[in-house]
């Protein structure tokens, strides 16, 4: 049982680090490119929430949307790779991925733009979103990550 627990923790830790890796890289690339904007992605949004996404591309809002997107990506990236406050990171990640999913949902009848595969309702954004739910349910920062030091410190103080 204990061995199985360890295997599970190790697997989820790997999942957490890779998702963090993915988010962090996306965030950093955008942060270091001042010309990057989510305008095109939002302007071409489709599906039932198209009105919401096209609302975000106004002159007054687009700058905020871009900055918040980068911050959110970095929050997920940093908390997941370092293994601390990962439940907060997981919630941010779930929110962000839900937005990406609904901006370009893989629903039948909609044109799939800039995708490398074929999808029907479920795409990689949705799968990554579910993976974030797993991370939320099974925090592993105390197993491998900064949380280990924080928890241990508490333990030391308790002793």
């Amino acid at each position: 049982m204990n061995q199985n627990q360890n295997k599970l923790k190790a697997s989820v830790t790997l999942l957490r680090i890779f998702i963090g890796w993915h988010f962090l890289f996306e965030g950093v690339v955008k942060m270091y490119n001042p010309e990057w904007t989510s305008f095109g992605y939002l302007a071409t949004a489709q599906g039932p929430f198209e009105w919401f996404f096209t609302m975000l591309i106004g002159d007054a809002t687009i700058g905020w949307v871009d900055t918040l997107n980068i911050i959110a990506l970095m929050v997920v990236g940093v908390t997941f790779t370092l293994g601390i406050f990962e439940r907060i990171g997981a919630i941010v990640g779930i929110g962000l991925l839900a937005l990406y999913f609904f901006a370009h949902p893989p629903f039948p009848g909609l044109t799939q733009m800039n995708v490398e595969g074929n999808y029907w309702f479920v795409n990689k954004n949705l799968i990554e979103l579910v993976a974030c739910i797993v991370i939320y349910q099974l925090p592993t920062g105390a197993y491998f990550g900064l949380d280990y030091l924080r928890k241990n410190k508490l333990k030391i103080q308790e002793q």
């Binding site: 680090i17 963090g20 942060m31 010309e35 106004g58 370092l82 293994g83 990550g145």
Partner: protein, 538 residues
């Protein structure tokens, strides 16, 4: 409190990952940005802003419209006047499709200092529509029964001519001789001889003469000029332009109005110099299908493509033209071709060379058109160093064997299939939503935008420029010189198709090289199959 090495390994194990990913992300981003700015610095292309024209001050320009058909209505809208019928149609269209912004665009259009004072249209219904739509209590619009009445009335300062082609020159000449300003649709003339007469009239008149090639106002075209001037493309040896249409409207089979009859149409005036045939609705509404009134693909659509390139390259009249084609898609009694290929030769023209002096010289302009297929073939300028797609957007790709970019290609700072420059004046305008495609993402890295990008009708800009020159002096972007070149080139293409032989231009004599036994204008006006074939579309 003491941590063992094991504690630190477990606790801080994520840090090197974070560091590595951060470094890789930053390096990727900064690296590609550096590469891009290096390319852009080398290209040094200046995206053009819309031309600023001096205001149209003083009393409003009094305008008379001659011809209020499809194009006449469009031109009148560019002047700021839309019929109630059109507004209602557009309101319904916008309700159906929120991306249809035509009414919104029209209403946002800057007001021009003009006054519509007269209409001349041989079809009562159109003349009445004009008056009903635009006549007000303080500005009663007058209907003139002939263009001469209008021009000689002393009540119009300027005329807008949107009639069948065979009327363009006679009306323009009459107006210019009376010092009335002219905005005439393309092609400028219907015959070779007229082209010279009109040039003389324009040169001897105090009035401002403009030809309706509105694309000269399109921002991407002025940017394209800068791209070519900077030698970005190297020596352009081939230009490919096209027309691809596959619908009745595109094949000039326009609607025939239910009220059309010899009672409502002044048939004799419509015919003018054309062969005297009995009243024929098909001819009246679909005049573009016969040489008597129209000029076929060469005058109707090639003239656009030719001038589009002439405004970028300023290549002038071709040394020779060969055309071929036929009536292959709409055998409905028309006698103008519906499929045509025109090759124009410019043996002494060059856009500049990056190779040994004298190695590159000369260019072919190829126009390929069909009215039986709608696949969109873009306009392409093919240079030794790069290829440019020319449209409302511009895209430039380096050529794999380019001399100018060889170092950058070798260093993989450029790749033949990756654009080095893209220009899209509408990219940041919300209007562009409907046209934004996945291409947007792929190419956005090298894209320039016109930041305050508001979609503006280029015909509006073209007319505004004409009106500004009327009031303030200066030069219109498509005047008599440009119109002359366009008309002669189009006539050469039509003549070549009709004669099945090469037509040559003698630049020293400023005339077509004569062909023994051939009267060019008789050939241009000749109507093979005239009244012989039954008209299948009615």
């Amino acid at each position: 409190m003491k941590w063992t090495r094991r504690d630190l390994l477990i606790g801080l194990g994520g840090l090197p990952i974070l560091g590595a990913v951060w470094w890789a992300g930053a390096a990727t981003s900064v690296g590609s940005r550096k590469k891009r700015s290096e390319i852009l610095e080398q290209l040094n292309i200046k995206p053009s802003l819309p031309p600023a024209v001096p205001g149209i001050g003083g009393d409003p320009v009094r305008i008379g419209v001659i011809g209020f058909g499809i194009r006449g209505e469009q031109l009148t809208r560019a002047l700021g006047f839309a019929t109630d019928e059109w507004k209602e149609e557009m309101r319904l269209a916008a309700e159906e499709d929120p991306n249809n912004k035509r009414l919104e665009d029209f209403e946002a259009q800057e007001r021009l200092n003009v006054k519509l004072v007269g209409i001349c249209d041989v079809f009562d219904v159109r003349a009445e529509k004009f008056i009903n739509s635009f006549s007000t209590d303080d500005n009663k619009i007058k209907r003139y029964l002939t263009y001469k009445d209008m021009i000689q009335s002393g009540e119009v300062d300027a005329v807008v001519i949107a009639t069948p082609d065979h009327w363009h020159a006679p009306m323009s000449i009459e107006a210019l001789n009376n010092n009335v300003h002219v905005y005439v649709e393309k092609p400028m003339t219907h015959t070779v001889a007229e082209t010279y007469t009109l040039r003389d009239a324009a040169e001897n008149s105090d009035a401002v003469f403009a030809v309706g090639h509105q694309h000269r106002q399109t921002l991407s075209f002025s940017t394209a000029r800068d791209i070519v001037d900077k030698g970005t493309l190297g020596h352009v040896s081939l230009i490919q332009t096209n027309t691809n249409r596959n619908d009745d409207n595109g094949a000039w089979n326009y609607d025939i109005h239910e009220k059309a009859s010899p009672e409502t149409i002044d048939w004799e005036q419509f015919l003018g110099s054309a062969p005297q045939v009995p009243f024929n609705k098909n001819h009246f509404f679909r005049w573009r299908k016969w040489w008597s009134y129209g000029s076929g693909l060469s005058g109707d659509l090639l003239s656009h493509d030719y001038d589009r390139l002439n405004c970028v390259l300023n290549m002038g009249i071709p040394a020779s033209v060969i055309s071929s084609g036929g009536i292959y898609t709409h055998n409905d009694g028309r006698n103008v071709p519906d499929v045509i290929q025109v090759n124009m030769e410019f043996p002494d023209f060059s856009t500049g060379s990056s190779q040994a002096k004298g190695k590159e010289n000369g260019m072919t302009f190829c126009y390929s058109a069909t009215l039986g297929n709608g696949f969109s073939r873009p306009t392409i300028l093919m240079g030794h160093d790069a290829t440019m797609e020319l449209g409302n957007r511009l895209t430039v790709w380096p050529d794999g064997a380019s001399t100018r970019y060889s170092e950058m290609l070798e260093a993989e700072k450029m790749r033949p299939n990756v654009p080095i420059y893209q220009y899209d004046p509408a990219a940041n305008a919300t209007d562009a939503v409907s046209s934004a495609t996945s291409q947007y993402f792929a190419d956005k890295g090298l894209m320039w935008t016109y930041i305050d990008g508001v979609r503006v009708d280029s015909t509006f800009l073209h007319m505004r420029e004409w009106l500004s020159v009327i009031k303030n002096g200066g030069k219109v972007s498509c005047g008599i010189r440009e119109g002359f070149e366009e008309a002669i080139s189009a006539h050469m293409a039509g003549l070549s198709w009709k004669l099945g032989r090469k037509i040559e231009w003698d630049p020293a004599a400023q005339a077509l090289k004569p062909i023994e036994g051939v009267d060019f204008d008789k050939v241009l006006l000749a109507n093979e199959n005239w009244n012989i074939q039954p008209e299948m579309v009615g």
